[in-house]
Structures are given as C-alpha cells and as structure tokens.
C-alpha cells in the first residue's frame, strides 16, 4: 500500500523556534515532521508520513487571521497530501483558534480533509467544531502521549476516506448533526428501561443531556421605590396591533421596544399578542393580563413607584433559543442602564 501523505501545522513553540518571544514568527515550511509531528509519524509507521510541516507564530496568526490563513494555504498548495493535521493545541487559545481557522481554510480552499486537536474548552473548539473535525485532547502538553495516538488513528481514517462515525465513538467534538439511526428497541421501551434503572438506583445513560445553566449574583435591591424608575419586559409577545417589527410566533430572532408614554391602559385591539405557544383569548381581551401597564401606571400616580419607564420591551418566548434570549436580555439590560432604570418586572406566559 502506498504511504499516505500528511501535512501538519504547529505553532512556534512546538516548532522549536521559541516561546512567546517568537509569537510573531511568520509562516515557514519544513518538508518533514517537526516536534510532535515526529511522534505522529512513528505512530503512522509504514502507513503514512508527514511531507510538510507549517510553523507559524500564535501572535502572527492572531493579529491577522485571514491573511495568515491565506499565506499558509498558499504554502500548502504546492504539496500533494491526503490529510491535514493541526495541533494538538491543548488549552492554548490563540493556537487553537489558528488550528481551527487553518483547517477550515484547507477544507474550503484546498478541498483536503482536515482535523484539528485541542481541549474541549479551547475557544477554537467552540468556534470551529461545527465546520471541521476537532479531536478532543487533555488540557495541557502533559496529555501529549494520549493525544498523539488518537490523532494518528483518526488522521489515517480521514486520509483513507473511511467513513467517520459518531463523535462519542471517534473522539471528536459533536458537530450538531442529526443522523437517523435504527434502534433495537423503541423509544418507549428505552425510556421505561431507563426509568426502571433509575428506580432501582442503577446507572443509566441519558440520551439527551440536560443543559447546565449558570447563576448570577443577585443585583442589589431597589433602595427607594418611591423614586425608582421601573420597566416592564415580557416574553409573552404583546406588541402593538400589526406587529410592526414582525416578531416571530416562535423561535424569535428579535424583540421590540414600544412607547407607552401617556398610555394608562393597554386596550383591546390596540395591542395584540403574537406568541404562538399559549391560548391568546384572554390577553386579546385585555393585554394588561400579560403586560400590566394599567396597574403600573396607577402605582406611578399613587407614588408607590417614581416612574414607569416610558418603553416596554417584548419578545416571544415560544421555543426561542437560550442564546437568543441571552442576547436580547443583554441588549435590553444595557438600554435600561443607559436610561437610568432602577428595576425591571418581566412577565412570562
């Protein structure tokens, strides 16, 4: 069998050029294995060899990623290889970003299969894992001896054109792809099996891991309510008639900011809901049932609060992505801050 040919990318440190002081090293190529590449070559044995190693400084790459990726793919164009390998970058952020970017560029511009390798929490992993294969490694170079065999095995598969299986079997970071598979047991049977194991205190493997949510420190309490400016926000989809901002009925990609200056009460037909996930009959009769402007205006007049903020913010919480909601919250929060708002009441349906 012909020896498979690999091209390898490493940074200035693994390329034995220098440390941080040599971070500005522009891309150079050696027509052989260098550094960890030698380890890979030993693992390839008779099956493969590294015919080119590109070394580039992490700072050089980070300061101009597009230009650097182009320079590197220009260098690689001259070589004929079956697969491209980048890293292992472990937890080095700039190195991981460079590995991801270059692998993607190699895939796109040179049409060659590529694999990067780094620690799961490396920023390069999150950004590039969907576009290229990112093999998971340990956190630091201490994990090198475990990383290299995994990389060698995967790279040989890629080079041979062997079909790559599921992430959990092959060791790469899930790319968010859905594949239909046939199971021996129906979902109902599998679900009951899991429940029985759980009841017996036996271990079981979930088919859908639950997301873990972070916590925020409680914000300090409003000191003087009678002087405070309070804002209303809702995920119940209450918007002015006509839905001027075209907020979606589900999986919202935006929120709206609407003036309630001079408005004492949300009146039927002036305001509607566009949220597609709950029975709208009651809120259509009286929008205050989701966005309580009437009561807040009264409390403002009674002096319980200093002021009802003249705008309310609205979006639709129906299957809206957590990441979208986070973004809306951040933008709304910044707007509230800029407008001297002291507290917010958010209603959900």
């Amino acid at each position: 069998m012909k020896k498979l040919k690999f091209a390898h990318y490493i940074n200035q440190f693994y390329g034995q050029i220098g440390g941080e002081d040599k971070g500005d090293q522009p891309p150079v190529v050696h027509e052989k294995a260098v550094g960890p590449g030698s380890g890979l070559e030993k693992l390839f044995g008779e099956e493969g060899e590294i015919i080119a190693t590109v070394i580039c400084g992490d700072t050089y790459f980070a300061e101009n990623p597009e230009k650097a990726a182009e320079e590197i793919t220009d260098i690689l164009k001259k070589y004929d290889f079956d697969c491209f390998i980048a890293g292992p970058a472990f937890n080095a952020g700039r190195y991981g970003m460079a590995c991801g970017a270059i692998c993607r560029a190699v895939q796109e511009r040179l049409g060659a299969p590529a694999v990067a390798s780094m620690y799961t929490e490396n920023p390069g992993a999150e950004i590039y894992a969907k576009d290229i294969y990112v093999l998971e490694t340990g956190k630091s170079a201490a994990a090198m001896k475990d990383a290299l065999p995994a990389i060698a095995e995967f790279a040989l598969k890629l080079a041979r054109g062997v079909e790559i299986g599921f992430p959990e079997d092959e060791g790469y970071i899930p790319q968010g792809r859905r594949v239909n598979v046939f199971a021996d047991k129906t979902g109902a049977v599998r679900g009951v099996d899991m429940l029985l194991s759980k009841l017996k205190g036996e271990s079981f493997t979930t088919e859908l891991p639950m997301p873990v949510f972070d916590r925020v420190t409680p914000a300090p309490a409003v000191k003087n309510l009678a002087r405070a400016k309070i804002a209303l926000v809702t995920s119940g989809g209450v918007v002015p008639r006509g839905n001027p901002d075209r907020i979606e009925a589900a999986n919202a990609t935006k929120y709206g900011k609407y003036s309630i200056e001079g408005i004492d009460d949300l009146v039927t037909d002036e305001y509607i809901t566009v949220h597609g996930g709950y029975d709208p009959v009651y809120v259509l009769e009286d929008p205050d049932r989701v966005l309580p402007v009437d009561v807040m205006r009264l409390l403002e007049k009674e002096g319980v609060i200093g002021k009802l903020f003249e705008y309310f913010y609205s979006t639709v919480g129906n299957t809206t992505a957590v990441s979208s909601a986070k973004r809306f919250g951040e933008e709304i929060g910044r707007d509230l801050l800029a407008n001297g708002v002291d507290g917010a009441i958010l209603t959900s349906t």
Binding site: F213, D214, R215, V216, P218, A219, P220, A221, V222, K223, L225, A228, I230, V233, S235, G236, Y278, D279, P280, V281, Y282, V283, E285, D286, D288, R289, V290, L291, P292, D294, V295, M296, L298, L299, V304, I305, T315, V322, A325, K326, F328, G329, E330, I332, G333, R334, L336, L337, V341, D342, G343, A344, I345, L346, T347, S348, T349
Partner: protein, 75 residues
C-alpha cells in the same frame, strides 16, 4: 433575560407560572403568576376584582425588587 438584566446590576423579577423552570434557568427573584395565558390577570373575576388582583401582584413584584436577597428566592 432576567439574568442578563440582573448581571448589569438592575434587580429584575420574573413573574411566571412554571416556577421550577425559572429556578432551573437561574432567575434570582421569582414571583408565581396567575396562569400561563394570563400571568397578571384572571378572566374569571369581575373587572374590579381582577384589577385589584393585578395590583396586589405588582405590589408583590415591587416588594421583591426592594428585598435584599443572597440567593434565588420565590416571593
């Protein structure tokens, strides 16, 4: 969204029906609402009674904003 607003230092209260979801996601100030389709209303009451219900709920919401808390609290 409540968490994002809170992270900027503005106290925020989540008026919602499914409290366990809000707790899991991590809101700090949670106020149980009336029902899913009408968190701040009750169509079974007379207009006046419904208004008073809404007013009392909002007073509770404001109370939560002026309460000093160290951890997630359902009001």
């Amino acid at each position: 969204m409540v968490k994002a607003i809170e992270e900027l230092g503005i106290p925020a209260v989540h008026v919602c029906t499914i409290v366990p979801i809000s707790e899991t996601v991590g809101a700090n100030r949670i106020l149980p609402a009336v029902a899913i389709p009408n968190p701040t209303g009750n169509p079974n009451l007379s207009q006046h009674d419904e208004f008073m219900l809404r007013k009392n709920l909002m007073i509770k919401a404001l109370d939560s904003l002026k309460s000093i808390i160290e951890e997630q609290t359902v009001f």
